[in-house]
Symmetry: C2
Subunit: 331 residues, 2 copies
DNA sequence: CTGAAAGCGCTTACAG
DNA sequence: CTGAAAGCGCTTACAG
């Protein structure tokens, strides 16, 4: 790899002139410029990004921290983030926490050492304090999908409405015994879904049927097990609301094994749809979540924050995306 | 953020001593060490990774470049890579090319500027020259899943055997009219599948029925369309071999719409299985590919190459993983 | 319009 | 056992 010094030597100028010519940071005589470009070409010079990063205190690098990208909405979001980041000339670091707070903590500790300029995270919820510390130290942070902390930026979907609207829709379809599979209710995003569900049921004077799974392990299994639990709690069940498509796939599988016809006997809807829904043998009705857009939006806001850092303190933003109902074969 | 200088000042020593104490790079008097650790703690000092990177010519950062992680085997592989990298104290940069050679090229150009210490890539196949250049410039590269170039390391599955063994298996199950859906046959990994398929059919004296899709767009659709093409070519078809689970999902969907019973009338197998297979309404028989292991293996080899770079020139390695047949409901 | 110098935050020979 | 100095490859005031 050739350096600025090599280029300067070949073009018979000082390295500072080369720097200025390449970055267009002040006027350089056309002839000089030409010589410099010629030298750059000849040596196929490329600036050392690490040196630039050290000097400018910014590596043009953001981190995306997610629980899992295998068959989850986070894959779509991560792709959206990476695409937008590239557009704005940033690279994207990727950390997979397996929804394990210890791994999340370790990753965060490493990242705060000035490696990345900003962080986008779908957190476990157990390192909120650390996140606040990091933000206070000058590294902007955005929560995505899961919002635990009001004083950190966030980009989420409207989980309350997802659930609320789903119940209304299912009611119109004739359902009267609707069960919800949901994660730890102490945690905001899950609670929101429950609230939407609860409110709608209350309006219809219907009774609640919920199964809660504490740890976020495997959505498919949660759907499978959840279905069995819900059916035990209420054998007259005529609809199941899953949190996400893969959970819905577990529901479908459980229903099939119990020989319950869907949608005839029992309907299924997913509250977080992504493109799996219409690839299934029996396609799955869902509230489609704009994962790609959410990722792009998060990246854009983050990078804007990074670049404004010096000028003004950016305001905390909470962006809420609407999901849209896509009717398919399970309802 | 506090620096080495701050710690040195607080501990009343030179910065070089602090560096030595923290990196255990030479003996430091216990008392001095204690003072230094105390200062580190008090200032919650963290070394600046960019400065370290510049000094040592290594940022402890590798890149993983893949075509797509949404519902693909690459998600599993990327996770494996990241996990192994973290274990070895490396961070992972993530680039999504959308299987677009132009995007791939752009990403590669940026990365070669010394940002990353090594690259793991599932390439488009159109930038092989550039990859060789980059490797020649001192950045180790490993091809994963797709091997285009012999003089670059690779970690792949045995596609030939996958296809060959699948045909043998289907034959034993009674199939005599087996169709293959496959990508561009000019490209090595696809060709391998075709060869395995072809060889087995020849041994049984059965006739070939293939549909080739040139561009890699959407596996689900390729499966869907491919199924229709194969059935037109041979209405007596009794088995379809798909390249990957999501393609198999497209096959299933097409069969369902044509009211062809699977596995009774027609069997389906996927040559690249990952955990989707057993989450389906009708679970999909597949040759399971150890994505996680392949990712880990690629990361391990790459990082070893990075760290040996100075000592000796590492030998090119080609690692081939075996897939294992997992029988499910479509056969 | 361009050069010489300082410095980003580290590590690592070189002395002693 | 520890300090002083050089240097990784850049950028950016400061002169002229």
């Amino acid at each position: 790899m050739s350096t600025l010094r090599d280029v300067a030597r070949l073009a018979h100028v000082d390295i500072s002139t080369v720097s200025r010519a390449l970055n267009n940071t002040s006027y350089v005589h056309p002839d000089t410029k030409a010589r410099i470009y010629e030298a750059v070409k000849q040596l196929s010079y490329q600036p050392n990004l690490i040196a630039q990063g050290l000097r400018q205190g910014r590596l043009h690098l953001i981190a995306v921290i997610v629980p899992n990208i295998h068959m989850t909405i986070f894959a779509e979001i991560a792709q959206g983030i990476e695409k937008q980041a590239r557009l704005m000339d940033y690279e994207t670091l990727f950390c997979d926490t397996e929804d394990n707070p210890a791994i999340e903590k370790e990753s965060l500790e490493r990242l705060r050492s000035g490696l990345v300029d900003g962080i986008i995270i779908a957190a476990t919820g157990y390192n909120t304090r650390l996140l606040l510390d990091i933000q206070a130290s000058g590294i902007p942070i955005i929560q995505v999908v899961r919002n635990f902390e009001k004083s950190l930026n966030s980009v989420i979907a409207d989980y309350f409405s997802c659930a609320y609207d789903s119940i209304k829709y299912l009611y119109k379809k004739g359902c009267r015994h609707m069960g919800l599979i949901v994660g730890d209710l102490e945690i905001e995003p899950f609670q929101q879904r429950y609230r939407g569900y609860h409110k709608a049921l209350k309006e219809y004077k219907l009774s609640v049927n919920v199964t809660e799974h504490k740890k976020n392990s495997n959505a498919f299994e949660e759907g499978y097990i959840g279905t069995n639990t819900l059916l035990e709690q209420d054998p007259k069940l005529d609809a199941i609301i899953a949190e996400v498509d893969t959970e819905g796939m577990g529901v479908i599988r459980a229903l099939k094994e119990r020989k319950l016809a869907f949608p005839e006997q029992i309907k299924v809807i997913s509250l977080t749809g992504y493109s799996i829904g219409n690839m299934l043998e029996t396609s799955l009705t869902s509230m489609e979540m704009p994962g790609d857009e959410m990722g792009k939006s998060a990246a854009r806001i983050l990078i804007e924050n990074v670049e404004e850092k010096d000028n003004k303190k950016a305001h905390i933003q909470h962006i809420v995306f609407n999901s849209t109902l896509v009717e398919r074969e399970t309802t």
